[in-house]
Structure formats: structure tokens, C-alpha cells
Point group: C2
Chain length 408, copies 2
């Protein structure tokens, strides 16, 4: 207090000073969040989420929205795909695909590598699609030969691939699958559920011939949850425009949203439903870091690979076993680990929490209690100086030691 | 700078200090936002929106979500109605009602007092409902005798009422309409589009017999946009549970969300789709102010009435004319004003903006260029010490004077 009294002029200055300098915003101390989304978010992104209220029709907001559309396209290496940025969860992307691209009784093929493919299949079914599934063994991906046989057996309107299944940490090779589909069934639309992969795994939308990439804001994109992000190829948009039956949705209808997205990309405002204004500012702050920051997009993907390799190796050295069966089907933004023999979830997850590290339990029904999940996307992977991975590695080793000791 | 150098120990202290004291967060200077949503948001609400990332499955977040469900019910004076808090725009509430409560080819009646009833009708139609509309004259509400006649002519599954139509500032007397519907057609579900009225107009959901109240976070509820809030009576939930056809949506399905909402209300986490975590913390901060703050809910409604009466009177003294035809159909959270003779939108809206006051243009197609809209909800109405209404009143008077002078 003495110091304060000695220079009263400083008493109120700091807040004004803070208010004018986003970089000075420091988020509150908190437990380290290493689940596969939501992920740790940079201070400047949270600060943008605290942006003063703005009209969704204002030029300033329109240009922020336009920036988000353009940078979203950049991350997917696409020239002309159409992003749809709409208030909603990642799940809402499933509804957009099911309602806009599939007509009642059309056949769709779902490649199932875990929990999230089941959900997508349920959603497609709810909108009237006839759904066939090819289910991989747990920890593996669907055999290419099985996909080829299925595509030759039946004409599918679209095929869905979960890029990274958040329940198993299995990574599908979308480049190779897309090549196969284009060769065997060129008219089949290729839909990539990339909720747990955009900005942590490379996706070359145009070069690989992907028609839809659907994702959300709270994983590799390093933004709070609440924004559904769906990017649609011009070919898929044509298929949508040539539907023979009306779209049976309102809020998810691309017919309603397309003119809005086009207006915002021209930095002009248009209205269908009020967008999540603050979240768009936050998303722009994160996209700016990702696409214009010191780390290139390619180096970002490398950083995720490197972080993932080190952590998986370390965990295996402790006796944990990766759920994905081989390295080539292992996600780089998250890790799913079976507990060592004699160790159970309650030995690990709660005591990591006591060490201020938050991880996720298992959600794949068949192995639910046998494994847990760790997310390492965004700043956690790209900014090692934060020490996030050192913190969880040390905590995990100590936790396991304590668990073993308690069982002696 | 000298002062800073004299007490270096203070250099970094303020930020830590700030970070630990939400009340100390000061949002950036900005133009005064007086449109009918999004509205000006309190510093503590924006600060909560910058909450560090949290797991949507954490006990801390579950109890925040539970608080939001309970306080949402309190604002509507309901004992047991079921709130659904889902990432989305207010418009998404229309989809929830259309998809969950109406089955294909069922008859619904829409009371039309402006632009937003048109939208709700489009949405109901998209989901297969047979929609009849009773359209009021611009600035008026639908005659009770017309509603009674329509209800006697046909059996309607539900009737929709726009409480405050944001395009005209017309307020419907939902208490009286609900009484009429209950008397003439007791099985018809009463759906209130209260996007522009919750927390700025009184709504006694149980006492008045309203089945569904749908709203959004960014208006009277004083939170950034991105949260769809739909509250459903137990009677309406039973109607939903007794549907004879499956729900043709996934993300909007109450079947998926009901167990999640019930779990969160028990302060336990459950997963269907990732909720907008930060926005839930922000919503809780605002709900706490509204339901547990120094101003009672009843006084809050009075403050909105008082603010509205004064501003409308002042604007009329300047020569502007209210779009609503009489005071008893005038909203208390917003004002829609016809320009005086010889004055056009470009005389008023841009020069208010130059005076750092943001208002909204007209959106009702029939009178689009003849009027503009002002929002005065939440802190603007309840915290007069902010001086928001003085600022717009002075700016409006000056702007009009300048406009008239320029025409001489």
C-alpha cells in the first residue's frame, strides 16, 4: 500500500492501460485443460471473447466475419470452398450435411472408427437417409478393400469419414480414402468429420478432393466452443442446389445461410439469424495466430506430430498402451491410452486432477473403463515454452508411481 | 513515466490484481450500442465470457449450467417448466418447436405482428406443418375476436405469439391471448416467441398457461449472442413424448437434450454435444445480476416501462412517431420510430453513429425506409447512472436539429 500511496496517479491508470492493450490480458489461474477439446485458449483469444457488444450489422463486425471466412478457407488449403460459420456445436455440422446434401431414402456409407461415426449415422438416419456402416476393429481404420467393395456394390450419395475419432484417437488417411472414392465412385460426395483434426492435422481440401469438411471452434482452432464450422466444395453446393425435394430444416438450411456468408465475405452485413458476435471476434484472433502467426501452418502440423510422438513414447515407456493399433493410424492432436495391468481409471484421472491436470475418461462403450484420453492441440503443442506437456508427463509418471505403491 | 520508474514494483502488479478480481475488469471504450439486441453487456458478464477453458464435463461447469437452468426458470415464474440451453441463435428455437412439437400436416396458427412471425411461419412450414396466419395491421396486434373465430373454425396443434416483434416494437398481450386460447381450445399449445421480451417484459409462464417460451441470450438477458434458450411446460413435453412420428432432426431433438439438461440440473455432467462453455459462464453472471441483484425482477420490469415511456415521450416531442399504434401495444425494451416529415433514414442513423450511438434501421419490408429502431434493455434501462438514455436523447435532438438546418 505504501507504494500505492506514494504514486496515487497510478491507481487507476493500469485498468485503462489494460483496456487498451489486449496483449496485456492475463486469464485467471486454472487447472491445465488437456482433454480433446475444449483446449487451452490463448489470452488474446479470451480477450477477444470479452469484446464490447457490437451490432451484427456493423461494418467492423462484418469485416471480422469476412476475415474468419477467408482464413478458415486458408487452413484447409481451399481456393473456393464455401465456409458456413453458424452458432452451434460441432454436432450441428452433422445436421447441416444430413439436411442439405441427403434426400429421403438416399444411400449413404459411414466409415466407423468409433463413437462419433455412430452419432453421424444416427443423424443421417434421422433425416431419412439409408445408412450402411463399415466398422473397423477398435483402434484400427476400415480396410480400403472393404470400402472399394462397398462402393462397387451400391451407388452412395455420400460417404462420411471421421478424420480423428475423439473416442479412440484413431486417425483415418483421408487422402488415400478420397483417392479411392474418386476413382471407384466419382459422384459420391466425400464428407470429412474433422471436428478433432482441423488445424492439428493437415487437410488439403481441394487437392485431395474433399467435398465437405465439418468442424467446431474448440479443438485445434483454439477458440471457445459454440461455433459450428462447415466448409462445402462448389461441387457439393451444386448437388445441394439441384435437390429434388425441399430441405426439411430452417436454421440448418444452406439456402438461408449462403447469401449471408457471401455478404459477410464482401465485408457487408446481412441478416438471417444473429451470429455469435463475440465468438467470431475470438475465432478471428485465433485464426490470425494460426494463419498469420510466427509458426507456419506446415510447422504447426509438424509441432503436433512431434508433441504427439514424444508423449505417446513417454506414456508407453510408463506401461500405458495406445488405443490406435499402429502409429500410422494415430492422431497427432490427442492420445488415447489403455491403463497398465492392475491400474484402473480411478487410480489415474482423479489424482491427475489433484495435480491440476484435467484429462478425459473413456467414452467408447466397448472399452470405456479401460482407457483415458489426453488432448494436445493448439497452444499446448505449438508453444512448448508453456510447459503443458512437461507438466502432464511429470504428473502422469508420479500418479502411476503412487498408484502402484498404493497397491503393494 | 517518471512515476512508473519511481515505483517499479507496481509495473506488473495491476494485471495479476485484475486477473483475480472480476469486478475490476473494464471493457474497452466503444460506441453505445442501443439496437434491439445485442445490447450493452455488463463488465462482469464479458469477464465471465473470458473464463479460462473448462471441461464441459467438469463439476464446476456442471454447477454453472445447473444454476443457469434454475435461474432461467425463475425469470419466467415457472415451477417445473424444462429449460433447454443449446448453442445456437434465437432462430434455432423456432426449429426446436417446429421439429419437436409439430408432426407433418398438423395445423398451426401464427399471429403475425411483423417480420419475425413471417420467419416462424416459414420455419414451421419447412418442417411440414400446415400454417394459417392472422396478420395484424402494421403497429397493431391481432384482434381477439379474429383469434377466437379461427380457433373455433379449426383445431390447431399450436398457436404462436410473438411477444415483442423486433421489427415493429409491437407488444402482444400474451396473458389475455393465453386466457382466450385456454378457454376456446384448451389442447392447443401456446408458444411464445419471447426473443425480444424475456427479462424486459413480465412473463408468468405457469400462471398464464404458456407452453413454450423461446428466447436468446443477447437481448433482455444481457449476455453475448450464441445461446438458444427454450423453456417447455410439462404438458408440452408430454405432447412431445406422445408423438406418433419420429423427430426429423438430430441437433434440435429434445429426446437427445432432455437427459443432458436433467443431468446438468443435478449439477452432474452429461454429453450429447459440446455446450458453449464460456457463454454459459457469461449467462450465469447475467442471470445472477437479474435474479439475485439489487433490483428485483418486478422493479426491473418497472424500470424498462419507465425508461420506455420517457424515451417515447421525448422522441414524440421531437416529432418522431411510434410505429405501435397505441401505448398498450408498445414494447418496453425497444422503440420503433417513424421519421418526421421530410426526414429520411440517412439524415438520422449515420449522424447518430458519428455521435457514437448505434441504432438499428427498419426491417419491416412495408415501411423499411420510413422508420428506425432503438433498443433500451438490460443495463441501459436498469442502470440509469450509466446515462445511456440521456446520451441517445441528446444525440437524437441534436441530430434532428442538424438535419432540419441542412434542409433550409
Amino acid at each position: 500500500m505504501a507504494a500505492l500511496v506514494r504514486c496515487p496517479s497510478l491507481l487507476y491508470r493500469p485498468l485503462r492501460f489494460f483496456a487498451s492493450m489486449s496483449r496485456k490480458f492475463v486469464q485467471d489461474p486454472h487447472k491445465l485443460l488437456l482433454i480433446p477439446g475444449p483446449i487451452e485458449v490463448a489470452d488474446e483469444v479470451l480477450y477477444a471473447n470479452a469484446h464490447p457488444s457490437m451490432s451484427h450489422m456493423s461494418p467492423d463486425f462484418a469485416s471480422a466475419f469476412g476475415d474468419c471466412i477467408r482464413m478458415t478457407r486458408d487452413i484447409l488449403y481451399s481456393k473456393d470452398a464455401q465456409p458456413f460459420l453458424i452458432a452451434g456445436s460441432g454436432t450441428f455440422g452433422w445436421d447441416q450435411v444430413s439436411a442439405n446434401l441427403v434426400e429421403p431414402d438416399e444411400d449413404v456409407l459411414v466409415l466407423n472408427c468409433g463413437y462419433f461415426a455412430e452419432g453421424f449415422a444416427d443423424c443421417l438416419h434421422a433425416y431419412g437417409a439409408k445408412v450402411d456402416q463399415l466398422t473397423a476393429v477398435i483402434g484400427g481404420t476400415v480396410k480400403l478393400s472393404d470400402i472399394e467393395a462397398a462402393l462397387k456394390r451400391k451407388k452412395y450419395k455420400l460417404i462420411t469419414v471421421t478424420h480423428v475419432d475423439t473416442s479412440t484417437a484413431v486417425l483415418s488417411n483421408i487422402k488415400v480414402v478420397a483417392e479411392l472414392v474418386r476413382r471407384v465412385s466419382p459422384d459420391t460426395l466425400i464428407v470429412l468429420d474433422a471436428v478433432c483434426s482441423v488445424a492439428s492435422e493437415e487437410i488439403q481440401m481441394d487437392a485431395w478432393g474433399i467435398d465437405v469438411v465439418l468442424t467446431a471452434s474448440q479443438k485445434g482452432l483454439g477458440t471457445p466452443p459454440g461455433l459450428s464450422i462447415v466448409v462445402v466444395s462448389q461441387m457439393a453446393l451444386k448437388v445441394f442446389e439441384n435437390r429434388s425435394t425441399p430441405v426439411r430444416t430452417y436454421y440448418a438450411s444452406w439456402k438461408k445461410w449462403l447469401p449471408i456468408m457471401k455478404a459477410y465475405e464482401r465485408n457487408a452485413a446481412a441478416y438471417f439469424a444473429t451470429p455469435p458476435v463475440n465468438l467470431i471476434y475470438a475465432y478471428r484472433a485465433s485464426l490470425t495466430q494460426i494463419t498469420r502467426g510466427p509458426v507456419s501452418l506446415q510447422d504447426r502440423f509438424e509441432a503436433h506430430k512431434d508433441t504427439s510422438r514424444r508423449f505417446k513414447k513417454f506414456a508407453e515407456s510408463l506401461g500405458f498402451k495406445s488405443v490406435p493399433l499402429t502409429e500410422d493410424v494415430s492422431a497427432n492432436g490427442m492420445t488415447a491410452l489403455y491403463f497398465p495391468d492392475g491400474i484402473i481409471a480411478s487410480d489415474i484421472v482423479p489424482s491427475l486432477l489433484k495435480k491440476d491436470v484435467v484429462v478425459a475418461g473413456g467414452i467408447h462403450s466397448a472399452i470405456k473403463d479401460k482407457y483415458f484420453r489426453v488432448g494436445h492441440m493448439g497452444v499446448t503443442a505449438v508453444n512448448p515454452e508453456r510447459g503443458d506437456m512437461d507438466k502432464i508427463s511429470d504428473a502422469l509418471a508420479e500418479t502411476l508411481k503412487e498408484a502402484k505403491a498404493s497397491k503393494l
